[in-house]
Amino acid sequence: MTTKDIGPKNPLQKGTEDAIDYVDERSGVKTGTRWFLFRNIPEGTSWFQTLGFTAMVVFGMQAITGIILAMYYVPDTEGGAYKSIEYITNEVTWGWLVRGMHKWGASVMIIVVFLHMARVFIWGAYKYPRELTWVTGAFLLLLTMFMGLTGYLLVWDQKAYWATVVAVNIFASAPILGPYIGDILRAGPEFGPATLSRFYSIHMLVIPGAIATFIGLHLYFIVRLGISEPPWSKRRLRIERDEEDARREAARERAKALPGAVNYPSTWPVEAKESAR
């Protein structure tokens, strides 16, 4: 059946199509979208498999609230940091909410990432061919925890300050490399103004960049390898049942073929028949 020509296309639609074709010719965006969005996933995909995406969304939320906080925050140890936190919390419109979301978002992110990992672990989804997906994910967990550690100091209050002094001392106590790591984190032998700006830069630039990179890798692996199928999906259970039936049938045949074999009722468990032999 051929399409009937009904005259020239709507110019707006034609313009859009031409623009997409122009970009696609140069970037392959159509293929890319098809590869990313319209790939098939196993049918029995479960609600538990939404946690990875959720972790990514929470990271996005942290990025947005973090950008807003950075518009007001001053990394100054001479009272500036503390005052800017006070200002954000008490003066800025919705400032308390943005700060609250960022603070709670950190805890939520840790929980979601942990649950995501537990799901992958319990399902054995880290097995061939997804080993490297797991490795990138493990780095993402460590980066997330490091994010919490560096962000904690920025509010520059007593609790945060001393907890971070202790935490940095812990890093510094490691054999061989420890003292160097301590100096790098503190920006010198003592806690001071340089420490705060260093934590600020690590928290805002270094780790977010690293997390974004690892999310990119993680996603690439997921799309390339496909998301795993629940080990108890309907399809898997059917296959396992068929395999079990085939095994029983084979054992029954073997029992029959033996000289002097009795015809055991087929309802007997296979093990009993094997031992009876």
């Binding site: 990313f36 969005l37 790939r39 098939n40 996933i41 196993p42 049918e43 995909t45 609600w47 498999q49 939404t50 959720t54 969304v57 929470v58 009272g79 503390y82 006070e86 919390t89 308390w96 609250g100 979301m101 603070k103 709670w104 978002g105 950190a106 805890s107 939520v108 672990f121 319990i122 054995g124 880290y126 097995k127 061939y128 997804r130 780095f139 967990l141 460590l142 925890m145 919490g148 550690l149 904690y152 520059w156 209050d157 007593q158 609790k159 300050y161 001393w162 907890a163 002094v165 202790v166 935490a167 001392n169 812990i170 106590s173 806690f191 496909g226 998301i227 199928e229 080990p231 108890w232």
Partner: protein, 245 residues
């Protein structure tokens, strides 16, 4: 995993994919619902449990409880578990060995557990590991959340306090020593060791002052205290269990 197992898995997964459904919109639909719920829950938390502004930093007083965020409580509790061993053990075990072993295990786990089996009940080792690690993390986080906070200004139940002893105890209490150390049952049970019988070590004042200025991690340095207070504190700690019981 043997090449045959790999092949079998690839074949099986290709089959699952073939009979599957597209990522968009099926998976995205569920993803959006769960992610949306989590974001809404965060906003509700932010509205109902407001974050407050704490005390401003004052590096010269350490009258505080060094509490990390709750997701580091397990590390904090590890310090306590090893706190009452000898001087080197807590540092090496709690701050280096245990965390690094956990991190390495975490990263290389897929290369340890390589069997093709994915069903829960057929992987007792892996399931045992996750129950063990999760149980340990939950238990230590619970302990951390319930660990005693400040010890107040009541002082320590010691006898034999002379004038120097009372002054030393005042420095001890004012600088938050009790938030990491226990003396005669008062103070936090860690991360620092119990100091009740510290005097039996027979340190002299100079050695103790040098230690307070540059202690082993994770204890913070007390170099910012005035020399007179440092000396008074050093004499007090050196007398615990011998002069002051």
């Amino acid at each position: 995993m043997k090449p045959a197992d790999k092949k079998a898995y690839d074949k099986d997964y290709a089959q699952a994919k073939k009979t599957g459904k597209p990522f968009f919109p099926y998976a995205i639909f569920k993803d959006t619902i769960v992610a949306g719920l989590v974001v809404v829950a965060t906003i509700i938390l932010a509205i109902t449990v407001r974050v407050e502004v704490g005390e401003p930093v004052n590096p010269s007083t350490t009258d505080f409880v060094p509490r990390p965020e709750w997701y580091f409580y397990f590390a904090f509790e590890l310090l306590k578990i090893f706190a009452n061993q000898n001087a080197l053990t807590p540092v090496i075990m709690a701050t280096f060995m245990v965390p690094n072993i956990l991190i390495i295990l975490l990263v290389i786990w897929p290369f340890i557990d390589r069997g093709p089996e994915r069903r829960i009940w057929k992987r007792p080792f892996a399931m045992g590991m996750i129950v063990l690690v999760t149980g340990f993390l939950c238990y230590t986080t619970y302990l951390g959340a319930n660990s005693p906070g400040g010890v107040g200004s009541g002082g320590l139940p010691l006898t034999g306090l002379d004038e120097a002893g009372t002054a030393g105890m005042a420095v001890y209490m004012a600088n938050g020593c009790a938030s990491c150390h226990m003396v005669a049952g008062v103070g936090a049970p860690g991360p620092g060791p119990d100091l009740t019988n510290f005097g039996s070590k027979g340190w002299d004042t100079a050695k103790q002052v040098a230690w307070l200025k540059a202690p082993n991690a994770p204890m913070p340095s007390y170099a910012s205290l005035p020399p007179a207070e440092l000396e008074s504190l050093a004499n007090f700690v050196n007398g615990l269990g011998t002069k002051y019981k």
